[in-house]
């Protein structure tokens, strides 16, 4: 098995657009500054809002003094729980209505005197300018009666309670008696890992513009889920969904942070209603940290037992993560351990603590990114114990079927990923002895780890319209968070209809369009592709039906499955005709078709599939680090990721997704941590100067490659690509550091002091 295609090479057989490194359609808008992000729209009379954040973790507001704020010239209104109009409470969550999951927290803002976290908005100032609003907000004085608060994750960890399983996410499981097997294992490791809270730090801070026109609401916001945002706003403000329009053509990065609805959004809409003015609320970077959740911290135990040959006899992976009293998403921390290794016995448990902090939320590969750090570090340590090459250890334990339950994999090529990756990376040059490879004062280390992320799809409604002049318009309320959503769907459409790429325009980012899937769970591209394929097929069927009515059509008597869509029409061998000819003959100026699956049908199909199959994107990371032997400074010097992500639609955008995931993982490994004051629950580093994301000078050349094998169960064979890149990365770094220094770092991030 070899890789067929590198990221910049077109498929050898490609006469089509799918698979090619097509330029993104919004490149011009984004490089000239023309692209308008949420905060950059203007309305006559637009006012500006700023938040006042609570400074205690839990308590009751005893008094709010807004006098000084109101006295600032240009202040229009100061909203507090004493005068704000009511919002409806957040809905009860239900799998039958996925948009009920949209709320970031369960808090009804400015409805009561209760404070649930340090940073919760307790007042909103609306003013004529953003600067005035912000300054006035700093003048609002709030007196609190503090209540006891549980904010220290580390201290609370022993009190964790078992996480509940759901249909979509089991929280534990057992295969055999892993505890006994571990005790009996001739070779074993038993390690305790910790990972800190993290924040997405998408470059665009969250911003909302809310405009009421009677009972109709227009909202500009960069969101990862237009449909959820619309449904949630309708529900909270008691208006029909059709009265809400969400506009979100450009989203300045999300990574999960814009997947749910947070306080700023709701308060902008509330402020607009209260003041009868269009209101813009653009959060500061600090405001994002205070009001938008981040990744949960975790404590994990991974214990592995093996026989002398390295066959796993026991795999134990348990975790403690957080949610908040006011909501939050229980993460599938040990999820990767359900799928990666063919251990004879397995014991998995997830537990949770509930804290008086802002609710946690999804951040790129929730569960798997942190879980893979622990599991893949432990595998590396076991390899060290056994004296076996870490790739060989993984190869020996590569399962044929899903280890927990024997379900089939739709697709699994980890062996190939390691084999080809090792060759390209030069793994054989690694001297396995720790500290044995040096370059001057730098200790050189090489590490590997497995990437793994479950694949799913979400339903999308799509319409495709083909005009007589050849113009094709695809409509679907997709979110462009940087992935190239419109670009890849245009490629798919062009191939399906057999029209030039330039003829296809994809309209996205507007709730007036047919509902799209959210940009989350690496599911947007596949979901939308399914809708596009369906709509294109129906459109071609309509075209064929029109053609077959004409006695002189060369398509007469043909079935769609016999035809090829190419050159702007349908052909059987050399015979066929263009859509233009079909439309002209029929006297029609366009054809239009809709595609997609209803939610109920979709859920039924998903659950049915899950009973039979396990599917995921996966890959192998190869990392080389250099560690300064005296100061402990770690520099990543080489990286190669070899992925199995099914079919790749656009080599250029796909490489960007994978590479971006790897770099975020390097940040997770070495620098990123949100510091929460264990006494007050206040985030202490809410800025890009104190929360360190990787900069250009930290990142070496990163090679990404993929095995271009379509998955048989996914639309076009594509597996989601947005999250798999980050999984395993922190472990690959930690494993390389272990190789360089002999030190196993169990607590992220791997800061300098941990290596001395």
């Amino acid at each position: 098995m070899t890789t067929k295609y590198a990221e910049t090479e077109p498929r050898q057989d490609a006469v089509k657009h799918v698979g090619r490194p097509v330029d993104r359609v919004d490149g011009r808008a984004k490089t000239t500054g023309e692209a308008r992000y949420a905060a950059e729209h203007r309305y006559p009379g637009m006012a500006h809002a700023a938040l006042v954040h609570a400074t205690v973790a839990r308590g009751r507001i005893e008094a709010v003094d807004t006098e000084a704020a109101r006295a600032v010239p240009g202040v229009i209104e100061v909203l507090t729980h004493e005068n704000a109009p009511a919002m409806k409470p957040a809905p009860k969550t239900s799998l039958m209505n996925l948009s009920s999951l949209a709320s970031g927290t369960t808090v009804s803002y400015l409805a009561t005197d209760e404070v649930h976290w340090n940073g919760q908005p307790v007042a909103v100032v609306v003013a004529e300018t953003p600067e005035t609003a912000r300054h006035a907000a700093s003048l609002v004085r709030v007196a609190y009666r503090e209540l006891p608060a549980v904010v220290d994750f580390a201290a609370e960890e022993p009190n964790a309670s078992p996480q509940k399983s759901s249909v979509l996410q089991p929280a534990g499981g057992d295969k055999g008696d892993a505890v006994a097997a571990l005790a009996a294992a001739p070779v074993s490791v038993d390690l305790r890992f910790t990972t800190p809270p993290e924040h997405h730090n998408a470059m665009e801070p969250h911003a909302t513009i809310a405009v009421w026109d009677g009972d109709r609401l227009t909202v500009h916001e960069g969101t990862q889920n237009i449909a959820w945002l619309r449904a949630h706003l309708a529900q909270r403000f008691g208006i029909p969904e059709r009265a809400v329009r969400v506009l979100s053509p450009y989203v300045g990065g999300g990574f999960g942070g814009k997947g749910f609805v947070w306080a700023g959004t709701l308060l902008a809409v509330l402020a607009a209603r209260a003041t009868a003015r269009p209101v813009r609320l653009a959060l500061t970077r600090e405001g994002v940290y205070r009001t938008v959740g981040g990744r949960t911290p975790t404590v994990q135990r991974v214990a592995l037992g093996a026989d002398g040959d390295g066959d796993l006899t026991a795999l134990i992976h348990t975790s403690v993560a957080m949610t908040a009293r006011i909501g939050g998403m229980p993460e599938g921390v040990v999820s990767s351990s359900r799928h990666l290794y063919d251990a004879a016995t397995i014991h998995l448990r997830q537990r949770l603590v509930r804290l008086d902090l802002l609710a946690n939320t999804a951040m790129r590969a929730p569960g798997d990114s942190v879980g893979s750090f622990a599991l893949e570090s432990a595998m590396d340590e076991l390899a060290c114990e056994l004296g076996i090459d870490p790739i060989e250890l993984r190869r020996r334990n590569e399962p044929e079927r899903n280890p927990m339950d024997g379900k089939r994999f739709t697709h699994r090529m980890l062996r190939e990923a390691y084999e080809v990756g090792a060759e390209r990376f030069g793994w054989r040059e690694r001297d396995p002895r720790p500290g044995s490879m040096r370059d001057g004062r730098w200790l050189v280390g090489m590490g590997v780890a497995t990437a793994y992320h479950p694949s799913l799809t979400m339903p999308a409604d799509v319409t495709v319209r083909l005009a007589a002049d050849g113009a094709v318009v695809v409509r679907c309320a997709l979110q462009e968070i940087g992935v190239g959503a419109a670009t890849v769907q245009a490629q798919i459409t062009a191939d399906e209809l057999g029209v030039p790429l330039e003829a296809v325009r994809v309209e996205i980012g507007d709730s007036e369009l047919p509902a799209g899937p959210g940009a989350g769970g690496s599911a947007q591209t596949a979901g939308a592709a399914a809708g596009v394929l369906d709509a294109c097929r129906k459109l071609k069927e309509s075209a064929l039906a029109l053609a077959r009515r004409a006695p002189d059509s060369p398509l007469r008597g043909r079935r769609l499955d016999d035809l090829e869509a190419r050159d702007g029409g349908l052909y059987h061998g050399g015979r066929g005709e263009t859509y233009a000819a079909i439309l002209a003959r029929a006297g029609r100026d366009h054809l239009e078709a809709g595609g997609g699956t209803g939610m109920l049908k979709f859920l039924a199909k998903t659950l049915n599939e899950r009973r039979r199959w396990v599917k995921a994107a996966s890959g192998a990371h190869f990392c080389e680090v250099r560690v300064d032997r005296d100061t402990g400074e770690v520099r990543v010097s080489r990286w190669l990721g070899m992925f199995d992500v099914g079919r790749v639609i656009n080599a250029k955008t796909a490489a960007g997704q994978l590479r971006g995931g790897i770099v975020m993982g390097i940040g997770m490994a070495l620098t990123e941590a949100t510091q929460v004051d264990p006494r007050t629950g206040r985030i202490m580093n809410p800025s890009l100067s104190e929360y360190h994301v990787p900069v250009h000078a930290d990142i070496p050349r990163i090679d990404v490659h993929w095995l271009d094998e379509p998955d048989p169960t996914m639309p076009l064979g594509l597996l989601g690509i947005g999250e798999v890149g980050i999984t395993g990365v922190a472990a690959a770094v930690a494993n390389a550091v272990r190789h360089a220094t002999g030190k196993r770092v169990l607590d992220l991030p791997i800061t300098l002091d941990k290596l001395l």
């Binding site: 490194p21 330029d23 993104r24 919004d26 490149g27 011009r28 808008a29 984004k30 490089t31 000239t32 500054g33 023309e34 308008r36 992000y37 905060a39 950059e40 203007r42 300018t129 953003p130 600067e131 997405h200 730090n201 998408a202 470059m203 665009e204 801070p205 450009y250 300045g252 990065g253 999300g254 990574f255 653009a282 500061t284 970077r285 462009e480 968070i481 940087g482 992935v483 250029k652 955008t653 490489a655 960007g656 994978l658 590479r659 971006g660 995931g661 790897i662 770099v663 975020m664 800025s687 890009l688 100067s689 994301v693 990787p694 900069v695 250009h696 000078a697 990142i699 050349r701 990163i702």
Partner: protein, 156 residues
């Protein structure tokens, strides 16, 4: 106070400017030029970069009054009519653009780099762009774009 300066070749004035306001604020909120992005307000991310008298700076760290009478060039002023600058073209072409929010600042900084250094080495590019954070791309393609733009610029 009133502030008057030249933006992309045109003289612009803003009235009632608060003395503590940044150049970034004036550009985005008063002059209708939101190409320069607001992402950190502390000079950490480079999203707001503009030329000030030919020197690339973070517009968030320039007090509006400090721009009085000076020349400002923003990302909106790099293309010549419909013709994109070589850097803009290369960014779009190389896949150096994802969400796009860091892009304007990076383009200004890269534009300055290749104006000063004809064929920057990889190390020079990494160093020059170290103050421009990007959370999407993993940086690699940005490096490609700068190399390509430099090559094309040198060829013309």
């Amino acid at each position: 106070m009133r502030v008057t300066f030249t933006v992309n070749g045109r003289e612009e004035s803003a009235d009632n400017v608060w003395e503590g306001e940044s150049l970034l604020y004036v550009l985005r909120e008063r002059l209708g030029l939101p190409g320069s992005k607001n992402a950190c307000e502390q000079g950490e991310c480079g999203s707001c970069m503009v030329y000030l008298d030919g020197v690339p700076v973070c517009a968030c760290l320039v007090a509006a009054g400090q721009a009085e009478g000076r020349q400002v060039r923003t990302v909106e002023g790099l293309a010549e009519g419909d013709r994109l600058d070589a850097v803009q073209e290369a960014f779009a072409e190389c896949g150096a653009v994802q969400c796009g929010f860091c892009t304007p600042g990076l383009i200004v900084q890269a534009h300055d780099l290749i104006a000063r250094v004809e064929r920057p080495s990889d190390a020079e590019i990494r160093e020059a762009l170290a103050g421009n954070l990007c959370r999407c791309t993993g940086y690699e393609k940005i490096l490609d774009a700068v190399r390509l733009a430099a090559r094309r610029k040198a060829a013309t």
